[in-house]
Subunit: 444 residues, 2 copies
C-alpha cells in the first residue's frame, strides 16, 4: 500500500497533523488557534460525551448552562486565578454598536460565575451537596496551538460541587477521579491511565489536592487526560459560599472542580494511531463496521444489504458503503484512516463461495467468513479488539517505564518514556531541577 | 392553595417571569440579557436536544463544530447579512494581552464560516448533498431581553446544507420543516403548530423561501418556533460553493439553512403553563413521576421505594422524594411549579388501605389507586396526558382563531388571537398597514 501519512517514527508531530487532516477529523479555523471539528471527528466527541455524561449523572450530578461572557471584575475576585489567566483571555469591548462601559471576558472557565451562583443558591445544609456540571466551549488564547491538544477555543465539561463537609467533598472528588475519569478512559477509550496526585508545584491554583489521570502517548510522552481537584474552603471563601448548619451556625462550604476536554481526542489519536491512521476502540467508534460493495452486480449489493440488516439486528453500529463509482482502494484507505474497527468487503468472487472478507483494523487480519457467520464473528471480534487495543497500549507503556532509584536516572529515562522514582529521591528541589530539563513530575 | 404566581390573566409577562424564577428554570446572568439555565430548565433542554438530534440524523445530517470567533471581514461577504446583524454583534478587540490586528466577531450564527468551509470541502457532485448541523451558543446583543425568548446569548441548532439541484435542496428544506420541526413540536412538545411560508417581507435575508412553524401562546399571540430556508444559489454565489458535475461543468450549489433554539423553552412555558406553574408533556419531562414520602415511618419509605422500582421497570422516568424534613406542602408546590406530570403521594393513612394517591398535574385529578395497579395506571395516564395537553392547546387556538375576509377584520381579530384571511385581501400593501399596527402576517 502506498504511504498515506508521514510515518510516526520519522516525525511524530507531523504524523499527528497529517492524520487529523487526512482522516478528516478537523481543520484549522479562520482565526489562528481555533479548529473546525469535522463530522468524522465530532461523531467521536459525541460518543465520548454521551458515555461520560451518563457516568457523571450516575454520581448524582446535574447539568446546567452558564453564560459565555463574564464581567471583568469577576475574575479579580480570585487573585490567584486571574494571574494565571490574564494573558490567555479574549476580551469583548464593543457590543450592540457601542463601546461597553465594562469589558467582558469570554469565559476561560465558568468557575467564577458558577461560584457566584452557588453562593446565591446555597442557603441551608439541606441545599448541599450541590453537584453541577456544564458542557460548553471555553477560550484561552494559545500561542503554540496544536489541534485538539492546545486550541484557543475548545469544548469541555467542567464540574463544580459544594459540600457541607471536607470528607464529603473529598469523597466526591475521588469518585469522579476513579469512577468517572479512570473508568471512562480505561473502558471506553481503551487507554491505560495512571491515576495519582499532582505535586504541590503542579497543583491547580487554589486546590488543596489535584488528582490526575496520565497516559503515555505513542512517542513515550505523557498527556494529562483529566483532573479532579479538592479546593478545600478556599473557593467558598473567595465567593462567599456559606450555609447554615443543622446547628444553625454559618459555615463555608467545601468545594471541588473537575474537567476533561476535546484534548482527549488528541490523546486517543496519539495512543492508538498507527502509520495507516487512527484505530478506534470498538465501544467508542461511531461506526463499528463498514460494509463495502467492492463491485456492484451479481447480487453483491443485495448480500451487502442483508449483512447490514443482520449486523444492525445484532446491535452493531454499521454503515453500508455502496459508492461503487469511487475506486475500492481509495475507500478502503479512508476507512483505515478513520479507524473504523471492521471492514467487510463484499465482492463477486468471495460471494460465489458464500463468503465475505472481514478485515480487522486493530490486529490487521483479513479473512473470508461464511455470510451466515459474519454477525457472530463480528460481535466477537469487536469485543476482542477493544481489549487488544488496551493491552497493546499497556504493554507499550510498561516497556517504556523503568523503575529507578535516583533523580539522575529518572531524568535519563524520561528521554524515551516514564520513570517511576521514589518521591523521597526527588523532593521539591529535585522537581525544580527536572523542570529545568523540560521534565515534569506527572503524578504521585 | 396559596397563590404562587402572578395569575396569567392579571399580567401575562409577569406570570412568565415569575414561573421561570420560582420553578428554578433559569436566572438572569451577570451580563444584561444573558441567562443561567438552571438544572431544572437545562434537563428539559437536554430532552429536547436529544429527541430533535435523532430526528435530524434520520434525515442523513451530520453534526460538526465551527469556531466561536469569526474574522470581521467574513461578515462583509454577505452584504445583506451584515446589515441585518451589525447592531447585534459583540466584538473581541483584545486577546492574549494585546490589541488584535483584526477584530473578531462572536458568532451571531455560523453561517459565514460554514459557507467558507463548504466551499473548501465540496469539489465534485459526489460530495453532495453535504448535510451539516451544529449545536452551539450564539450571541446577538439584545436591547429588550426576555428569558428564553430574546437573550443576548442563546443555545440553538443551525443546519446548513448544500445540494446539486434546486429540487433536492427544496425537498430537504421541506423534510426538515415537516418531518423534523413540525413532527417534533407536535409529538414531543404537544404544541399544535401551523406550518406555512413567510411572506416576502418577512423572509430571511437571502432566502428564496422561508418556511415557519408558528404556535399560539397562552395570551393569544404567535411565536415562531423554528424556520427552514431555501437559499437558492444566493448563498453559494456569495461563498463560491461550486461543484463539478457528472458532465464536468462547474456549477453553483443550492443551499438551505434551518434552526431552532432555547426559545422553544419559552414557547413551551407560554403554551402549557397555568397559574400553578409549568405543565410538562410526559414524553418531554425529564422526571415523569415524583414519588413523595408524605411522612416517614409505618412502612411508607419501603412502599415508596417499591413503587419506584415498579415504575422504573415499566420504563417510567421516576424520582423518589423522601425529604421528610421539608414540609410536604412545599414539596408538592415545587413539583407543580416544575410541571412534573404525575405525583404519587405515599402516606400512612392511604397505605393502611393498600393505596397510594396519584395526582395528575395536567388534568388536575387526584385519586387513590391500589399499589399493585399504580404502574399500569401511571403508564396509561402519561399517554393520555400527552394527548390531552395537545388537544387543550389546539382547542384554545381554534377558539381564538377566526376566519375573516378583509384586512380590517383581520386587524381587529388579532387583538385576541389569530385571524385567517385570504392573502388576496392583504397583499404587500396590506401587510405594511398591519405591520404599522404591530401585527405580522405570520405565515401563508
Ligand atoms: Zn465568606
Ligand atoms: Zn461563484
Amino acid at each position: 500500500m502506498a504511504r498515506v501519512l508521514t510515518p510516526r517514527a520519522e516525525d511524530f508531530p507531523r504524523w499527528y497533523q497529517d492524520l487529523i487532516a487526512k482522516a478528516q477529523l478537523a481543520d484549522n479555523g479562520p482565526v489562528r488557534g481555533t479548529m473546525v471539528i469535522r463530522p468524522v471527528g465530532y461523531a467521536i466527541w459525541e460518543r465520548m460525551q454521551g458515555d461520560m455524561d451518563a457516568r457523571i449523572k450516575e454520581q448524582g450530578v446535574q447539568n446546567a448552562y452558564f453564560p459565555l461572557f463574564i464581567p471583568e471584575n469577576y475574575l479579580r475576585r480570585e487573585a490567584d486565578h486571574v494571574e494565571g489567566f490574564s494573558p490567555e483571555l479574549a476580551v469583548v469591548t464593543h457590543a450592540g454598536g457601542k463601546e461597553l462601559a465594562e469589558p467582558l471576558v469570554v469565559r476561560p472557565t465558568s468557575e467564577t460565575v458558577i461560584g457566584e451562583f452557588m453562593a446565591k443558591w446555597v442557603d441551608s445544609y439541606r441545599d448541599l451537596p450541590l453537584l453541577l456540571n456544564q458542557w460548553a466551549n471555553v477560550v484561552r488564547w494559545e500561542l503554540r496551538p496544536r489541534t485538539f491538544l492546545r486550541t484557543t477555543e475548545f469544548l469541555w465539561q467542567e464540574g463544580h460541587t459544594a459540600h457541607a463537609t471536607e470528607a464529603d467533598a473529598r469523597e466526591h472528588a475521588r469518585d469522579i477521579h476513579k469512577n468517572v475519569y479512570e473508568a471512562f478512559m480505561t473502558e471506553m477509550l481503551a487507554i491505560p491511565v495512571i491515576p495519582g496526585r499532582k505535586t504541590k508545584g503542579e497543583r491547580f491554583a487554589g486546590a488543596t489536592n489535584t488528582m490526575t489521570v496520565e497516559a503515555m502517548m505513542g512517542d513515550g510522552k505523557a498527556l494529562q487526560m483529566g483532573t479532579s481537584h479538592e479546593l478545600g474552603q478556599n473557593f467558598a471563601k473567595a465567593f462567599d459560599i456559606t450555609y447554615s448548619s443543622a446547628e444553625r451556625t454559618v459555615e463555608h462550604a467545601w468545594t471541588t472542580s473537575w474537567g476533561t476536554s476535546t484534548r482527549m481526542l488528541g490523546g486517543l489519536i496519539m495512543v492508538h494511531g498507527d502509520d495507516n491512521g487512527l484505530r478506534l476502540p470498538p465501544r467508542l467508534a461511531p461506526v463499528q463496521v463498514q460494509i463495502m460493495v467492492v463491485k456492484a452486480g451479481e447480487g453483491v449489493t443485495e448480500a451487502a444489504e442483508q449483512l447490514r440488516k443482520d449486523l444492525k439486528a445484532a446491535g452493531v453500529r454499521v454503515k453500508l458503503d455502496d459508492r461503487a463509482d469511487i475506486p475500492f482502494g481509495r475507500r478502503a484507505v479512508d476507512a483505515e484512516l478513520q479507524g473504523i474497527p471492521i471492514r467487510i468487503e463484499v465482492g463477486p468472487r468471495d460471494l460465489a463461495n458464500g463468503n465475505a472478507v472481514v478485515a480487522r483494523r486493530i490486529d490487521g487480519t483479513k479473512s473470508p467468513i461464511a455470510l451466515a457467520e459474519v454477525a457472530n464473528a463480528v460481535v466477537a471480534a469487536l469485543k476482542a479488539d477493544q481489549q487488544r487495543l488496551y493491552d497493546d497500549a499497556l504493554a507499550f507503556r510498561e516497556e517504556r517505564t523503568v523503575e529507578v532509584k535516583t533523580l539522575a536516572e529518572a531524568i535519563e529515562a524520561s528521554q524515551t518514556g516514564f520513570a517511576r522514582v521514589p518521591w523521597s529521591a526527588v523532593g521539591e528541589a529535585g522537581e525544580k531541577e527536572a523542570n529545568g530539563k523540560a521534565i515534569t513530575v506527572r503524578c504521585l
